[in-house]
Symmetry: C2
C-alpha cells in the first residue's frame, strides 16, 4: 500500500518539450520539495523511483528532464547534446528554472523550502541554479562537480554536498580539486565525498543498454557505494530540509 501519488508533467525548456516525473507525499498540506536532476543520458526509471522514495519520506519531488523525453543509448548522440549544454551555464539554468517553476506551481510544494539534488549533468544544473542565486536549502550533486563562471559561486547560500567515484575518469582529481577550490574560495558550506574505487555512474546498474553496445569506458555500477551515496543524500535532506507536518 503506497500513499504516494505520481504524475507525468510536460513543460517547455531549452527548445524542447520536457517530460518530468512528479511524486507527491501522503497528506494534503504543503511540504518541502526536491528537484532531482538526471545524468546525461536522460531521465530514467531509477530517477523516477528516487522521486517516489523521497515522496515516501514526505517530500514533493520532481525528477526533471534534460533531453526532451529522450534517453540516449548512443554515446556520440549523447555527447553531441551534452557537450554544448555543459559549456553554457545559461542554458543549464534555463532547464533548471523550468523544472523549478513546475515544482513551485504544485500546490503541495512549500516554495520557500526547496533543495536540488542531481547526478552528473543534473547535478551540474543544480549547482548552476545555486550560482544563479536561487534560494535553495541544499544542493547535492553526485558526479557533477562542474565549476562555474568566475565569482558566481559566491551566490550559493546553502550547503553543498558533492560525491564522486575515485576512479571516475570523467571527473578526475584535477576537476574535483578545481571544484573544491571554487567552493572554498566562495565561502560556500561544502563537503566532498570520494567513493573509493567507484567509476562514473556508479550509483545505478546499467539501464536500457543494447546487448550489442558496450558501456562507455570508465562507467560502472558499484552497489555498496550506490547505497551509501543515497544514504548521504537522505542525510543532507534531513539536515537542511527536515520534513515537518
Amino acid at each position: 500500500m503506497t500513499t504516494v501519488t505520481t504524475r507525468t508533467v510536460t513543460y517547455p525548456a531549452d527548445g524542447l518539450t520536457m517530460v518530468g516525473h512528479l511524486a507527491l507525499p501522503a497528506g494534503a498540506g504543503r511540504r518541502p520539495a526536491v528537484l532531482i536532476g538526471p545524468e546525461g543520458p536522460g531521465l530514467n526509471d531509477f530517477q523516477r523511483r528516487r522521486a517516489d522514495a523521497l515522496a515516501e519520506l514526505g517530500y514533493v519531488a520532481l525528477a526533471f528532464d534534460i533531453n526532451g523525453g529522450r534517453w540516449f543509448t548512443d554515446p556520440q548522440e549523447m555527447l553531441a547534446r551534452l557537450t554544448p549544454l555543459l559549456a553554457d551555464p545559461d542554458r543549464m539554468r534555463g532547464i533548471g528554472h523550468a523544472a523549478l517553476d513546475v515544482l513551485r506551481a504544485e500546490p503541495r510544494t512549500d516554495p520557500d523550502r526547496i533543495a536540488a539534488i542531481g547526478y552528473g549533468t543534473g547535478g551540474a544544473i543544480g549547482l548552476e541554479l545555486g550560482r544563479d542565486g536561487v534560494n535553495l536549502r541544499a544542493i547535492g550533486t553526485v558526479n557533477g562537480l562542474t565549476t562555474g563562471r568566475p565569482g558566481e559561486a559566491a551566490r550559493i547560500r546553502c550547503p553543498v554536498w558533492a560525491g564522486v567515484g575515485s576512479e571516475d575518469p570523467i571527473m578526475p582529481a584535477e576537476q574535483r580539486d578545481a571544484f573544491a577550490a571554487e567552493m572554498q574560495a566562495a565561502g560556500v558550506d561544502w563537503r566532498l565525498v570520494v567513493y573509493g574505487g567507484a567509476l562514473h555512474a556508479f550509483h545505478h546498474p546499467p539501464v536500457d543498454q543494447p546487448a550489442d553496445q558496450t558501456v562507455l569506458p570508465g562507467v560502472g555500477y558499484h552497489p555498496k557505494h550506490a547505497q551509501r551515496a543515497w544514504r548521504d543524500i537522505i542525510d543532507l535532506l534531513a539536515e537542511c530540509l527536515p520534513v515537518t507536518e
Copy 2:
C-alpha cells in the same frame, strides 16, 4: 533516565598505565562493540561522551587511552610523545591491541563484531589494527589519514571510512592523496569525506585550554561539520555493525 553503565578501566600498554572509559548499553546479552581512539592530546570527556552515546545506541564502547591517563596542553610535550609513536606502527598496534583485549574481555562484548573508530592519532591506531590483520567490521578515522608500511593495507578486510577538514594543515592534500592511493592499491573498500573549510580538530570545541595559551595553528572547531562527521560515523556503524538484540 539513562540505562547506560560506565566504568573506568586501567590496563598496561606502551610502558604506561592506560585509563580508558568503558560504556555498556542497557540489557544483558552480548552486543557489537566499538573502540574509540582519542586524538593526540589524549582521552578527554568528548570521547568519553561519544562512548556513552554509542552505548545509548546499543553498542559496548571503549574510549581508550594513548597517553597513560594524561591530557597534554603543551604542544611541545605532546609532539615529543606523538612524533616517535606515529612513526612506529608496532607501538601503535600495541596500544590498539591492549585496548582491544580490554574490550574483548568484557562479557557484554560480542568478540566477532567489533569496529574501530578514532580521531587523529586514535584513528591512525585503528588503521594499524586493520593493517595488522585484526578482524574488524569497520574502521572509521577522522583526521588520522596515515599511511602504513608497504603492502600491509591489503590485510584490511573491512570498510574504511575517513574524514578530514579541507584546510587541515596537519593532513594536507598530499597526505590525503597518499592515503587514498594506499587504500585503492590494496583493494580496500574505502571512502573519504573532505569537510570544506574545516581545520584540524574540527570535530570538537577546544578543551582544557589555558587562557594564556593559544591553540596550535591550523586547529579550530567547526560545529556543523562536527555534527556531520558524527552522523557519518553513526551511519558507518549502522551499515557495518548493526545493533541486533
